[in-house]
């Protein structure tokens, strides 16, 4: 059976589309940070945690883990997942958060995204903590995803801060990625 050139081209196109579709749902690379101490100075901050990072062709997923080991969070505390470098207002508009998955129960009250710098795209995903539903010694985790809007240049960073309405941030840690949005290192 002879396949015409047109049929071959069509078949190749279909194969290409299928591959693109499949690879879009398979992460191109992942990064796992070590479990360790979050930075920060607030007495009611989560003391321990970790990062995981999944890089796809059009989006990234960022897992962050939190354990309060000393005391419960005070009421009105928020956590900000900053998909940019807030200290230098850098890496704006690259990664736009769109999605937050909360696991384990009712420990988050509300969520939001916010435009912090650059153009009209948001870079920050925040969520409020339901302090009465957080227990000392238990581990809590979320998965936040962001769309990749632009290339990563020479790489960049994302940051985690502990905060509250009208408070300055208590910086907890960060994750670095390379020019291909692959996670490379983190604190913790």
């Amino acid at each position: 059976m002879k396949i015409s050139r047109l049929t071959s081209v069509l078949l190749l196109c279909i194969l290409f589309l299928i591959l693109v579709g499949v690879t879009d749902s398979i992460y191109a690379g992942s990064y796992v940070g070590s479990w360790g101490n979050w930075s920060g100075s607030w007495s009611d901050r989560p003391r321990e945690g970790r990062h995981s990072w999944y890089n796809y062709s059009s989006s990234v997923s960022w897992w962050t883990y939190y354990k309060w080991t000393v005391t419960k969070p005070s009421s009105g505390r928020d956590i900000e997942l900053e998909f940019y470098d807030p200290a230098n207002n850098n890496h704006c508009d690259r990664l736009q958060p769109t999605n937050l998955t909360i696991y384990g129960g009712n420990w988050i009250s509300a969520w939001w995204i916010s435009n912090q710098c650059g153009g009209s795209n948001a870079e920050l995903l925040g969520f409020g903590i339901s302090s009465s539903n957080v227990a000392v010694g238990s581990t809590y985790y979320v998965r936040a995803t962001a769309d990749i809007l632009y290339t990563a240049g020479y790489g960049g960073e994302t940051n985690v801060s502990y905060t509250c309405f009208l408070c300055s941030d208590d910086w907890l840690g960060k994750l670095n990625y390379d020019s291909g949005y692959n996670g490379t290192s983190s604190t913790p």
Partner: protein, 256 residues
């Protein structure tokens, strides 16, 4: 005469100067006091903060972000109080009789049970809703989860199968030992996505009653639009776009 004119001119100058100073002080005081505000209503409160940023061309863009805290049945639950739900329902009825039918209002629809994308879209499509936020609930290895997402279309676009596929990372995290084994239930389907339990949407006023009478709709929360109405008439925030208006979706308060 000349000296009288001089006195009048001097007085006018002093009055102008004093008024200018008062205006400047008053204006700067207003500017300083409107970067944030907390409002307390009978059944909810909300925080407002300026969400100002600089565009790439250096232009200052003024927006505001607000977070609503509904009065809860008790502190440990996400269930709104009966008073809160009653007030929301009364507001809906007032709007139906007083607002223009074509006016779009920002509301949250809480479904009576988790719905598939097709079921939710049937309800939303029949009222020409414009959905901008959703909450999907489910279990992965027995761990309950809620997935909040920004929606950009008139209807929902992610099937429950797609939501389930996005949970493959959980399995990797579990395999790596990041999730405590004691929390995992390793029997049955690893991922059990129950469905859409809540959405935020722009709805035309003349469709509110129809939605409220739909059996799959548990209740319609009108508080987001009530907050927008208040912000629109508050001199501190007039003419500023609301970049995000956050309202907790009480997904943990019901069985699913």
């Amino acid at each position: 005469m000349k000296s009288k004119a001089k006195i009048i001119l001097a007085l006018m100058g002093i009055v102008t100067f004093v008024f200018t100073m008062i205006w400047a002080v008053f204006k700067s005081g207003v500017m300083a006091s409107v970067s944030h505000e907390t409002y307390q209503q009978a059944t909810y409160s909300f925080d407002v903060v300026l969400d100002t940023y600089y565009s790439e061309t250096g232009e200052e863009v003024n927006g505001i972000r607000a977070i609503i805290q509904p009065q809860l049945a008790d502190e440990s639950t996400s269930l709104p109080s009966t008073a809160y739900l009653n007030a929301s329902q009364q507001r809906l009825q007032q709007w139906v009789s007083k607002r223009t039918g074509d006016e779009l209002v920002d509301v949250m629809l809480m479904f009576a049970r988790p719905l598939t994308m097709a079921e939710a879209n049937e309800i939303l499509g029949s009222t020409n809703a414009e959905v901008f936020e959703s909450a999907v609930v489910g279990y992965v290895y027995g761990v309950p989860f809620v997935n909040y997402a920004v929606e950009n279309g008139s209807l929902l676009t992610r099937s429950l199968t797609e939501v389930a596929e996005s949970q493959h990372e959980f399995m990797i995290e579990a395999e790596k030992g990041h999730i405590e084994e004691a929390d995992l239930t390793l029997v049955g389907d690893p991922v059990d996505v129950r469905g859409y339990l809540a959405v935020r949407a722009w709805i035309k006023v003349n469709n509110l009653n129809k939605l409220a009478q739909t059996p799959e709709v548990r209740f319609i929360d009108t508080t987001p639009q009530a907050v927008r109405d208040q912000l629109n008439t508050d001199s501190n925030w007039q003419n500023m776009s609301v970049t995000w208006l956050s309202l907790p979706m009480p997904v943990w308060a019901y069985d699913w």
